[in-house]
Amino acid sequence: MTDVIMPQMGESIAEGTVTKWHKKVGDRVERDEPLFEISTDKVDTEIPSPTSGILSEIRVGEGQTVPINTVVGVIGEKVAEARVEAPPPPSPAHPPAPPTPPPTPSATSERGHRSSPLVRRMAREQKIDLLTLSGSGQGGRVTKQDVLKHLESRATASSEAAEVPAPAPVAAATSQGRVEIAPMSAIRKSIAEHMVQSRRTSAHVTTVFEADVSRIVQARESLKGTFEKEEGVKLTYTPFLVRAVIAALKSFPALNASIEGDRILYRKDYNIGVAVSLEGGLIVPVVHHADEKSFLGLARAVSDLAERARGKKLKPEEVQGGTFTVTNPGPYGSLFGTPIINQPQVAILGVGGIHKRPVVVNDAIAVRSMVYLALSFDHRLVDGAVADQFMADVKRRLEGWDEKIL
């Protein structure tokens, strides 16, 4: 076995970089045949093989820089069992052992982290996150060409699709304190994008109403057992709410609309989204043509969609086409929230928890089941008065509930 070492190519030279191996492990090499190429401060050169044999081991891969006299490979009779492209342990053959060099990061881990002053300036000027580029330069460096290509594809992309606003600046994970860094799931990324986009698109205003839903609570309490037994559907408050919302939307079409450029699209379908929270996210399945369903049909649809949402079995069209959304943060104790509009809709109704509260009824204090209803609406299209009239209508319908549900 013969060690192949990084030669000293000049008096003041302390290290060299292997730029190319002419042989692969297992190749036969003759004495004085070019074996590998190195690059030092002063010279780039081919290094001939010190002996004839089989290149049995490559210890220093292409692109790695090591001190002189480091064993970069081994020539023997056969291929070594384990070959590790890592700095070798100090070799007894060379008593003044060179200091172990720091491990050279692999091309992948370097990717996007190393670049030139020019590339950094271009990134600054063009607002490019260099970490999103893959580098084609030495050791994964991002080069000028990489940036130019990126700019070209970005120009093409933005001319083809409507411009997607840049994600809001996110504070970088810093080295301060203890932190666990996790990648964003696809659903989380999508939520993040939609939330920010919506805030940027609509002029959000939230109005809050309080409704006495004692009649609904009574109706549900008295019927839920039967309902579940006879229809196989769990009776929740959601169909009541959706029912009232649809009726009110018919009176106030501005709430069941969307904005497209400088036009208003009044939607004639009543496709009501119902937010369902999932582990690690939230999804809004849509009850299409909710106005055409009976109470039972609506209850069944809501229950079915929620169940399949949790089982991740929704079809794409079942989360699309919504015209108005109902979300329900109540179960966890929230009084009310200020929900973010589900684009391109113009309003979303947040339903708080239903709690018994003392209220004044006919100048007497009574215990009633009360709920806060918070409507976030897009003030570009919906005036405050309209939103409040709509909410008053919803409230009236909930409070005066008289529909037979079975």
Partner: protein, 327 residues
């Protein structure tokens, strides 16, 4: 078609200037009777006489001093060093006297110091050197190093007409190797202004900044690399002092990668100076390290194989350019 060599261009420049201006005189070892070691001044003695063509003893410091004194008395001497290596003998006269005269006394020294520089002709360590940096480093001296026939003539004429000392470095390997047609020479600039570089080849990948004989090495490498899709831009500095740094920076700002190539040895060479200027003034335009391709820090070897290894070759440029292009 009449061809004019680099050497002939030097000869013509002096001849024409001597015809034009009676104040121009020549001094040097064997410039008269013998016509110069390289026959640059052949026929001059016959035409201009021994008052204007002066054979000197082997005493570089002495005849450099004579030239300076003559210039103070209204003449415009051209000093020839038989080999530019021996300018070392006149170092004190040049750096402490000629270079500082205008600063100290307001007395310009309109002399030209010229001689054959460079290697590649198997002339060994005393007849192959490139001494430019001693003088580039000394404020008060202009330094030019032409690579082409037209520049050989045009820069020498400019040097003779200049009011300050000019070191004119002619590359001996180019003397008879570089040629141009007479028509080409006649259509070229008669006087080439000192301090103006020239882009000899346009390219988008790497700028190679060079001068003198290395221009041809750069152009040869550019041909090879063009076949691989690497386009070199080649700048011929022509003047080292004053340096046309705007020309260099302009190319660097467009091309973003720079290599400096010279035949002079590495440490303290022109490449280091240009690298510093680029780093200071165009840092944000760099897409790779500033690369030097130069002779190593040794005397010029006599052995043919060693001299070949010493002087940068096209393959050295090609190899360095490939690495820089891939950086």
């Amino acid at each position: 078609m009449t061809e004019v060599t680099y050497l002939e261009a030097i000869r013509r420049a002096m001849w024409e200037e001597m015809e034009r201006d009676p104040r121009v005189i020549l001094l040097g070892e064997d410039v008269g009777l013998y016509g110069g070691a390289f026959k640059v001044t052949a026929g001059f003695l016959e035409r201009f006489g021994k008052d204007r063509i002066i054979d000197t003893p082997i005493s570089e410091e002495g005849y450099t001093g004579v030239a300076i004194g003559a210039s103070f008395n209204g003449l415009r001497p051209v000093v020839e060093y038989q080999f530019i290596d021996f300018i070392a003998n006149a170092f004190n006269m040049i750096t402490n006297f000629a270079a500082k005269s205008r600063y100290r006394w307001g007395a310009g020294v309109p002399i030209v110091m010229r001689g054959p520089a460079g290697g590649g002709v198997r002339a060994g360590p005393f007849h192959s050197q490139n001494p430019e940096m001693h003088f580039v480093h000394t404020p008060g001296i202009k330094v030019v190093a032409p690579a082409t026939v037209a520049d050989a003539r045009g820069l020498l004429k400019a040097a003779i007409r200049d009011e300050d000392p000019v070191l004119y470095l002619e590359h001996k390997k180019l003397y008879r190797h570089v040629k141009a047609s007479l028509a080409e020479l006649e259509s070229a600039e008669d006087v080439v202004p000192i301090g103006r570089a020239l882009v000899r080849r346009r390219g988008e990948d790497i700028v190679v900044v060079t001068y003198s004989a290395m221009l041809y090495v750069a152009l040869e490498a550019a041909e090879i690399l063009a076949k691989e899709g690497i386009e070199l831009e080649v700048i011929d500095l022509r003047s080292l002092v004053p340096l046309d740094k705007e020309c260099v920076l302009e190319s660097v700002r467009r091309v973003n990668k720079v290599m400096i190539l010279h035949e002079d040895t590495r440490t303290g060479g022109m490449a280091g100076e240009i690298a510093a200027i680029v780093a200071e003034e165009a840092f944000d335009d760099l897409d790779g390290p500033i690369v030097r391709v130069t002779a190593p820090d040794t005397p010029v070897p006599y052995a043919a194989a060693l001299e070949d290894a010493f002087i940068p070759r096209a393959e050295d440029v090609v190899r360095a350019a490939r690495r820089l292009a891939a950086y």
